[in-house]
């Protein structure tokens, strides 16, 4: 893949990738875009390792998910206070974008793996096999995360309605 083909892939994949990361970061647009930039740069630098065994989009989402996990780990390791403040920031940002407040609050009830599986399956319309490739988990593990996520979110939605 050359630079031109890569730029085409950026144009195709930037929106779904940024949306996925933004939802994963519970509405923190700046952090999500930083992770997306990092993921695209890593993909560009390691283009020769893309073997074509999965689609380019799946490969890119896998890099982005790894970048997100690294950033989360670094935030937890170096400044535990920052993680707490991140949650507050997410809630504040949710207040600003009222139309997405309900979504971010619902996603807040799930852990990272559940959130990832749910967002990829329902919002980004990835198959179970693709989600397994992205998260490097067996398909059955993805299924169980997805079913737990659905259960937790259903409960939250029920409570929210009542």
């Amino acid at each position: 893949m050359n630079r031109k083909e890569f730029e085409l892939q950026v144009q195709i994949n930037q929106e779904p990738l940024r949306r996925f990361l933004r939802n994963l970061c519970r509405g923190d647009a700046a952090l999500a875009d930083d992770i997306a930039q990092e993921a695209f740069i890593k993909a560009f630098l390691h283009l020769e390792t893309f073997g074509g065994r999965s689609s380019f989009s799946t490969w890119l989402f896998r890099i982005a998910y790894n970048c997100f996990c690294d950033s989360k780990k670094a935030a937890e390791r170096y400044s535990p206070l920052e993680v707490e403040s991140l949650v507050v920031t997410a809630s504040e940002k949710a207040d600003q974008g009222f139309e997405h407040q309900a979504l971010y609050l619902a996603l807040d009830k799930l852990n990272t793996k559940e959130r990832t599986a749910l967002l990829l399956f329902y919002m980004e319309e990835k198959s179970l096999k693709e989600i397994a490739d992205i998260t490097r988990m067996p398909v059955n593990t993805v299924k169980s995360h997805l079913s737990r996520a659905k259960l937790n979110m259903s409960e939250h939605l029920k409570n929210h309605r009542s």
Binding site: R3, V10, R18, R22, L45, H100, Y122, M123, K150
Partner: protein
């Protein structure tokens, strides 16, 4: 058919993100990075070389005659399992592995 409430909820909150200069910022950064190396797919070449070596050895070592002799004695194996010598057994295993490798290569090339 009952609609999945979670699917409906997530679909209704699916954002359409404006590009907001994201691509331009990224492409500017890429200008300062080393350009990707073009890695050629060498597997057809490797398969071709080894297939050529295999055919050459087959011809030079009288493989055709050995094959005919082998095939003519094959029927004995079905009647008498003691006729199944280690060299016949290993030849059968190698042949099966060669077929598996060939089918896998063809399937991968087709999917690419």
């Amino acid at each position: 058919m009952k609609e999945d409430p979670i699917k409906t909820f997530l679909s209704s909150h699916k954002e359409t993100l404006p590009e907001d200069g994201f691509n331009a910022r990224l492409f500017n950064t890429l200008d300062y990075l080393p350009q990707p190396k073009h890695s050629a797919n060498r597997s057809p070449l490797i398969v071709g070389i080894f297939a050529g070596i295999g055919i050459l050895l087959f011809v030079l070592l009288g493989g055709y005659n050995a094959l005919l002799n082998g095939l003519s004695t094959m029927d004995r194996i079905f009647f008498d399992l003691n006729a199944l010598t280690p060299d016949i057994l290993s030849a059968c295993i190698m042949l099966a592995l060669a077929f598996v490798a060939l089918i896998r290569f063809a399937a991968r090339s087709y999917h690419r």
